[in-house]
């Protein structure tokens, strides 16, 4: 029942906002998002709540059930979604655009679909929610996006759907192979497909998530889309939506085609790492702050994927831990981008500088967010990255992989500090109007301080999250043997 509530609260609130278009839509949306956060945190703290499931007969002709539930990994993802979404919605307070009620409604619809994805216990249900999460974003990008939004939105849509259709093919294939034609994950995970089938089926199942994450060379939709999307759209895409990719890999790829993963593992890891290095290098060369953040996200995601495919305790739990860190990071970093953009009137790095002189508190907040981005010890990212490097190191030839992955961290530090320097340090900007820039106000602190606190607390004491992952990760690894 409580799981249905998670689906319905955002959905119904969103519908209400869409139909009634009230003036205080932000407050209503925020209340809904916080209510969901309270529920999910409650599930997390309640002992033994993993058994909460829901099952209804749905399409009896196919033996398809409407089955919701979650394990530790699912709970982590739910937690991430529930914690991040209030922030994404709150970020709209400083934005000025038409029809804020509709934007909030679309965000809530996305949240509902994401909850659905993370709770589905059935491959078809997963797929439906997975695609549904795309629709609100399609409209968000199409109406509220920046320059050239029509073409970029189309490309984003087609790319993601292409991956999605490959996944659909994969699911259909597995379900047909399953003796009782059941699409439940438990049934599909028990499937033992022949080796040569697994080798090609791997790509059918993996492609959707490779595009969603995205990893090199399926990433070409990402920088344009992130740059063009409205701030909250980019937060949703980078903060939460791409985690569906990681989650999907753990749900579909590892358990169903373990031998396929074995075969392609080093290819995928090298693709991810090369992509990460490449994106890091491009980020370094960017002159636009938002684009820089887009490429830095691309670089981080490459390492996430590499860590996941290390496929050992360190790698998987590190990758999932880092997924959480990355969500917090993306949202806070983009908020800073928005704040800087509002003050400087541009995101062009070459036109900025010396902002710290007028906005010291914003500079301080930026720096605190930045230390998470460069994975300084005692931040959440450090824990995640460290675990992932350990995971990679344990592989055959893993030394080189870990080395290459560490290089991306160095690159990350370089371009992040470089961005900080270009925005905040240096001489005063040539300010013709002579108006002093406003420093970070109460709202900015209310937004950023909790996020920074999460980063530091979980960086110092990661046990609660890692504990959550222990059992499901062990179960995933047992497939390997």
């Amino acid at each position: 029942m409580i799981l249905i509530a998670l689906l319905l609260i955002p959905f119904l609130t969103g519908t209400l906002l869409l139909v009634a278009r009230p003036a205080h839509s932000l407050v209503i949306a925020l209340i809904s998002a916080i209510a969901c956060a309270v529920i999910v945190v409650g599930l997390w703290l309640m002992p033994g709540s993993e058994v909460v499931t829901l099952e209804h007969s749905w399409i009896p002709q196919w033996g398809l059930n409407f089955k919701l539930g979650y394990d530790g990994i699912g709970l982590l993802m739910l937690l991430l979604t529930a914690v991040i979404f209030p922030f994404i919605i709150a970020a709209g307070a400083k934005e000025t655009y038409e029809n804020p009620a509709v934007v909030n409604a679309l965000l809530l619809f996305t949240q509902s679909a994401l909850f659905g994805v993370f709770m589905s216990q059935n491959a078809f249900l997963f797929y439906i929610f997975y695609e549904l999460s795309l629709l609100p974003l399609f409209f968000l990008l199409l109406f509220w996006g920046g320059a050239n939004r029509r073409a970029i939105t189309m490309r984003f849509f087609i790319y993601t759907l292409f991956g999605g259709l490959a996944l659909l093919f994969g699911i259909a294939y597995c379900v047909v192979q399953e003796p009782s034609h059941s699409a439940d994950f438990t049934a599909l995970h028990a499937l033992h497909l022949p080796y040569d089938v697994q080798v090609w089926l791997f790509w059918a199942l993996f492609l959707a998530f490779a595009v969603k994450l995205p990893i090199f060379p399926f990433h070409s939709w990402q920088p344009d889309t992130y740059t063009m999307a409205p701030l909250q759209g980019t937060m949703t895409l980078g903060g939460v939506l791409l985690k569906m990719g990681l989650f999907g890999i753990l749900r579909f790829v590892f358990p169903i085609v373990p031998e396929g993963v074995e075969f392609w593992r080093s290819t995928v890891i090298w693709m991810s790492i090369i992509g990460a290095l490449y994106a890091g290098w491009i980020a370094f060369r960017q002159t636009d702050l938002k684009r820089l953040v887009a490429y830095s996200s691309l670089s981080h995601v490459g390492i996430l994927c590499a860590g996941l495919f290390a496929w050992n305790t360190y790698g998987i739990s590190g990758s999932l831990y880092q997924a959480f860190a990355h969500a917090v990071l993306v949202v806070s970093m983009l908020y800073i981008v928005g704040a800087v953009q509002r003050r400087a009137g541009t995101t062009d790095l070459s036109k900025m500088g010396g902002m710290k002189l007028q906005t010291p508190r914003l500079a301080a907040l930026f720096f605190l967010v930045l230390i998470n981005a460069v994975a300084l010890p005692l931040t959440q990212s450090f824990v995640g990255e460290w675990l992932m490097f350990n995971g990679l190191w344990q592989l055959e030839n893993g030394g080189w992989m870990a080395l290459a992955a560490v290089l991306t961290i160095i690159l990350g530090a370089v371009y992040m500090l470089y961005a900080f320097q270009r925005v905040m340090l240096g001489p005063e900007p040539r300010n013709e109007s002579g108006v002093r820039l406003l420093d970070a106000d109460r709202d900015d602190h209310l937004f950023l301080v909790p996020l920074i606190a999460i980063t530091l607390v979980l960086g110092f004491y990661p046990a609660p999250i890692l504990h959550l992952l222990e059992a499901p990760v062990q179960q995933l690894l047992s497939v390997l043997n």
Partner: protein
């Protein structure tokens, strides 16, 4: 079966009503009669699987569900017709009556047990359509459509008849059970295979499968929109049911299977790729209809126990979305003074939000995006094909489905883009009703496909 007699008589009644000036009564009487026919299909359980009319027809479960589906779609088109024909002075009775006759032919096609009744059904379906396609008598394009459809239609009928004659030559009977027995014993007889091939050519013409599709964009474009709707929905449903019956009967010899596979592949390819280049809505729908024929042919190719229900689910939900979309198109076309380019949808959402949402739902259903009915229809087809071991074909179809999403998304994008001069859209209550019914049905059947499968 009494339903069949009812529809035949209904057509005559409508003609007389028109003769005595009851123009306002035409659609209501037609709808009532069709509802009566549905009721008869639902109630006459004792006729199931018992050959009727001297072994010409036999209504099995598939035949009955298709018949009811056909009648429901026809009712929706009739409701559309109330507004569509409201401004015409005369000759409305003929239009409605011809549609009723055509549906009667369709009902025969979905439950024939004799090759002659198949031929009769196809002809009863087609001949009224040749006339209907030329319904706009002052329009050259409408005349061209009618003439083209008539010529090519007769050509395909000739093929069909030749095929039936060849099958008769081998089996010495028109009755399906006897032909079936013959196919089981000497299915590789060259004359028999040639006959089967000709019959399939005749029927693929009706479903507009490549390479027998050339008529369809021109006819869709030229015919009055209501007739186009009728052709895209009722004809397609009936023709696929008929094709499936024929294919199961001959037991799909290898040569026929190969031919159908080839047709399915080129249909998917040509339909989807050509649709990408269309900016004229009716032509776009024509190519989309060709593309959907490709998916449906995949279902027929798999030839498994689930095929009839999948075919029904697919064609019925496709028909629902198509009817709704053509009505939205008619509304938008009026506001744009007869323009048929897809840009007429621009600003639709702003001026009529509900209609805009319904267009979105139906377009996404055709594109096969969850949770709308078109998604489950496509998944069903993929599962059937995979079940039959057609992995390569399925991969190809998945790619083609992606191509399809693009051109539907373009229309959606138009509808949700604001335009400089807001179109003054007037939606008649009856049209509003049908659009809403179709949109909601597509959504509900997508969420609960179990109700229809």
């Amino acid at each position: 079966m009494s339903a069949l007699i009812l529809t035949s008589v209904l057509g005559v009644i409508l003609l007389y009503l028109g003769l005595f000036g009851g123009k306002k009564l035409l659609a209501p009487v037609g709808i009532l009669g069709l509802l009566g026919a549905i009721a008869l299909f639902v109630m006459d359980k004792q006729y199931i699987n018992i050959p009727q009319f001297a072994n010409m027809l036999s209504f099995d479960a598939m035949g009955i569900s298709f018949s009811i589906g056909l009648l429901v779609i026809t009712i929706l088109i009739f409701i559309f017709g109330i507004d569509y024909y409201a401004n015409e002075e005369k000759n409305v009775a003929e239009q409605f009556a011809l549609m009723i006759f055509s549906v009667t032919g369709a009902l025969m096609m979905v439950s024939y047990t004799n090759l002659l009744s198949l031929f009769l059904g196809i002809e009863i379906l087609s001949i009224p359509l040749y006339i209907l396609a030329g319904g706009k008598r002052n329009s050259m394009r409408s005349g061209e459509a009618s003439f083209k459809y008539f010529l090519l239609g007769s050509f395909s009928s000739a093929f069909l008849l030749m095929g039936i004659a060849l099958i008769y030559g081998v089996a010495a009977s028109f009755e399906l059970p006897k032909v079936m027995a013959m196919a089981a014993t000497s299915g590789t007889n060259i004359l028999f295979l040639l006959g089967c091939f000709f019959v399939i050519v005749g029927m693929t013409f009706k479903v507009a499968a490549v390479p027998f599709h050339f008529w369809s964009p021109d006819v869709y474009e030229g015919a009055p929109t209501l007739v186009t709707t009728f052709m895209a929905t009722v004809v397609k449903m009936a023709a696929f049911a008929a094709l499936f019956r024929f294919v199961t009967m001959i037991g799909m010899p290898a040569a026929v299977g190969k031919a159908l596979l080839l047709i399915a592949i080129v249909t998917l390819l040509v339909g989807n790729i050509t649709a990408l280049r269309q900016s004229h809505f009716k032509r776009l729908m024509a190519y989309s209809s060709i593309a959907h024929s490709g998916f449906l042919l995949m279902a027929i190719l798999s030839n498994s126990a689930n095929t009839p229900s999948v075919l029904f689910y697919y064609t019925f939900t496709y028909a629902l979305a198509t009817v709704g979309l053509f009505i939205v198109f008619t509304v938008a076309k009026r506001a744009a003074n007869g323009d048929e380019h897809i840009r007429i949808f621009r600003g639709l959402f702003r001026s009529q939000p509900w209609i805009g949402v319904m267009l979105l739902v139906m377009m996404l259903s055709l594109a096969g995006i969850p949770p709308f009915a078109g998604f489950f229809a496509k998944v069903n087809v993929f599962m059937l094909a995979l079940g039959a071991g057609q992995i390569g074909l399925t991969v190809f179809a998945v790619v083609m489905a992606l191509v399809g999403i693009y051109y539907y998304a373009v229309v959606v994008r138009e509808a949700f883009t604001a335009s400089e001069n807001e179109p003054a859209l007037v939606v008649a209550p009856t049209n509003w009703l049908v659009i809403s019914l179709c949109g909601i049905a597509v959504l509900v059947l997508g969420v609960m496909p179990g109700w229809l499968l």
